[in-house]
Subunit: 262 residues, 4 copies
């Protein structure tokens, strides 16, 4: 299937600042960029650099008074739906070095504090059956509510509050999976059917030797997600990190299926 993506950002700055943008869909085997253009109005050179785990890229932008950016892409996604439930378990001792951080707690995903809950609640399960149970649990036990969390909200907070937005769903599923000894990372993504239309955050779980996309909010199917970048949690995958102060003027994200049109 193919996605059309259009993003417009407009921010003002009181003082010149360096800005890290992560908004470009990543070129990957299962998501091919048919077309892509990122336009940034700036008097300064824009520098691209590798994303976390060498997935996608980040842009460093220097902005004096404003950041105005426009991004357009058409992404062809060819990713089969996978039945998580049937995937075998991998003992942690088989995991290569680059996966190790995804087993450990991170800033917003205090997986160490959820081990007790996971052990008690999902004790007999392993591998894909365990992963699927964690996904179901997250979907069943959280309520999506715009504005119900803030930047400081962590997975443990969400575990108690039982409400959140996509970021909170992703954090909690990631924390639960790590507590269950399943490597898990957060993924910034574009997907259709995200309401209200915005940058989206989903998760990837490592099972049977590969990463598997899961959207615990249930808004996006794995076959329709275009990854932007990955990381330990929201810290790594923010679409924009400003080293200074910026005020939002206007921001829009539009994602549409093209297949119907093709």
């Amino acid at each position: 299937m193919r996605l059309s993506i259009e993003v417009a950002l407009e921010y003002t700055l009181r003082e010149p600042a360096d800005i890290l943008l992560q908004i470009e869909a990543a070129q990957m085997a299962d998501q091919r960029l048919e077309h892509q253009s990122l336009t940034i109005w700036s008097d300064h050179a824009v520098t691209a650099t590798a994303g976390e785990d060498n997935i996608g890229q980040r842009c460093w932008v220097r902005a004096d008074h404003a950041l105005i950016a426009r991004y357009e892409a058409i992404v062809a996604i060819d990713r089969p739906a996978v039945a998580l439930r049937s995937l075998p378990a991998t003992p942690v001792r088989m995991l290569a070095g680059p996966l190790v951080p995804y087993l450990l707690p991170s800033r917003y995903c205090e997986s160490d504090k959820l081990e007790g809950f996971v052990r008690r609640t999902f004790g007999g399960l392993s591998g894909g059956a365990l992963a699927a149970a964690l996904v179901d649990w997250t979907a069943d036990n959280l309520r999506y509510e715009a504005g119900s969390s803030v930047g400081m909200t962590t997975a443990l907070d969400t575990f108690g509050m039982r409400t959140g937005v996509c970021r909170d769903y992703a954090h909690l599923l990631v924390a639960l999976a790590r507590a269950a000894e399943i490597p898990a990372r957060c993924v910034a993504a574009y997907a259709p059917d995200v309401h209200p239309s915005d940058f989206h955050a989903v998760t990837e779980l490592w099972l049977d030797g590969g990463w598997h996309l899961v959207d615990p909010t249930g808004m996006a199917r794995a076959e329709e997600i275009a990854r932007v970048c990955v990381g330990r949690d929201a810290t790594d995958i923010a679409f924009m990190t400003v080293f200074g102060d910026a005020q939002l003027c206007r921001q829009s994200v539009r994602v549409a299926r093209l297949d119907a049109l093709a």
Copy 2:
């Protein structure tokens, strides 16, 4: 029934310090002090002052090099067992001012972050039936494990970790009850059958116009608990708060039923 209580404390100090002790069983209608003696070896006067909610008393002690204290008491407890489950609910708007703090989050009891869980899990219940369900949930979902928590551990941590000691059980039940709009406070107490023998922490839930003692660890029955003091959480009910530094040398707490001997 009657309890015999013997406490010995021995601490050393590098520098003189003021110390707040809360180790005396409180004189109350349902627990009568038949005998009590608190001996503190100090060159300075000891000052007694009222405990929180005017329950029990605290002692201010000035110690130069060491704090050595011995406490002995015989407490006659006359408190009927109450079936929480049958008690009616009280709307929060009927609660008098002194109860209000016990509806609110406190340092170690982040009840605001547990409201979502409580609403989802115990939605149809109210009053004593709700309280009893929270007590059962706490008892069923935590595992008692010495050394599994630290001083910084909060109710939300315990909610994720699912292990703790008496203090953590009390914090979690208190936080759940407040999230359920049931006033709840922490109680420092003596009780037989606490293993290892030590100062104990339990809870009181306000239902049907009165406070009801509950030990969510299940170690003590409400009819056999001698209260020392009450408060919002461990902050208020610590048996010893040192305004300086003290090192433990020796500490023992012995609590025995006297009835067999009577």
Copy 3:
């Protein structure tokens, strides 16, 4: 001096809820209510109950669809300016029971974590000189910035971030004072010259046998503050606590000096 106070609140509710209001100026020796009227549009009875430390009063309101309230008062304040700096120190062991909680850490004031900083930075000082140094330090090291904090922000956060609103200034000063063994509480208040005009939060420090009002933001002078209620931190002194969900429609707070008119 005399203050005129006018407050209007308008909130809507999706479902009926109990609401705790703390917006009435407290009747106290140093602030006399010349006129006061609180009007709440409700089909249910309003219940008044004592405020924390028996200062001021709280109202319990039952609201079905909306909370609409109007409060007007004229308060005559007769409170001499006090030079904190000259007040003698009181050893903690001289403090009566009701003051003890104000020495201890609370939900938003983690004074235990600031003891090291206080000892290092203000080591030689005590009593009023210490208190004055803490007030000056807070005023000098924080920057007032609307929107720079959220409900979860604690004194320790503010200590690092060095920005905040009145609530954060109050929390940090209270935490520093407790770390310095000076009892400190938070005070909800009305004051002129608060910009933008709103409910205000200040502090009281216990020195020389009495509470002394201090506004660490520097916006209000102690002689011009009308207390509403007191407590350990923002948990206790919120002007409105909703046991349910409420959405703000309109809210205004106007406070003016009447002396010029008199």
Copy 4:
């Protein structure tokens, strides 16, 4: 200079567990392994995998009842002392992708909450002068005290408490540096003169195109430190992470200079 390193670990397990060990000195340009041997008594194969940032290696060990390991190495360190103070600043927008995480907050290093303090206190400085000022500030404002922190202690906690062990010094310096827009990572290391002798934690700051070792405790000079592994904070660089439960029986770390003997 050359270091001799001897480590002995002995832990018991109630149940079989996977264990991640990071105790081998890393082979790097400025620290050459002259001799190294790691012996692990286990019935299962040991798997080595790359460390974070491809520095050093981790071992996965499967243990049934106990983990017994012995490590010996001789490391020749050839690393010139660098005067941090004279190094030029690098704007963040010049930083390559792999450095970006070291600009961001992490689990134990809440650099976002320290930006206000850093801006106020070190406002006029940049580059090496700023870095040197942060190192000096950390060394001057913390007191080393064994047992003064726990596993949950974060950089912000240490910033308030002003005491800690090597881990806390490293966390705080890393957090301050990131708040100052200087990439910073934590380093597990061996060094002589660490008292009591133990695994050590230090920091690396990125300046002028390279990483520079700094020990904010002042116990080790950069020219005498043998790195084991690097990471965002203590989460990544733990010498042992047990996916299960292990009890310490015996552990010793001995590090000595060999030069005198050579």
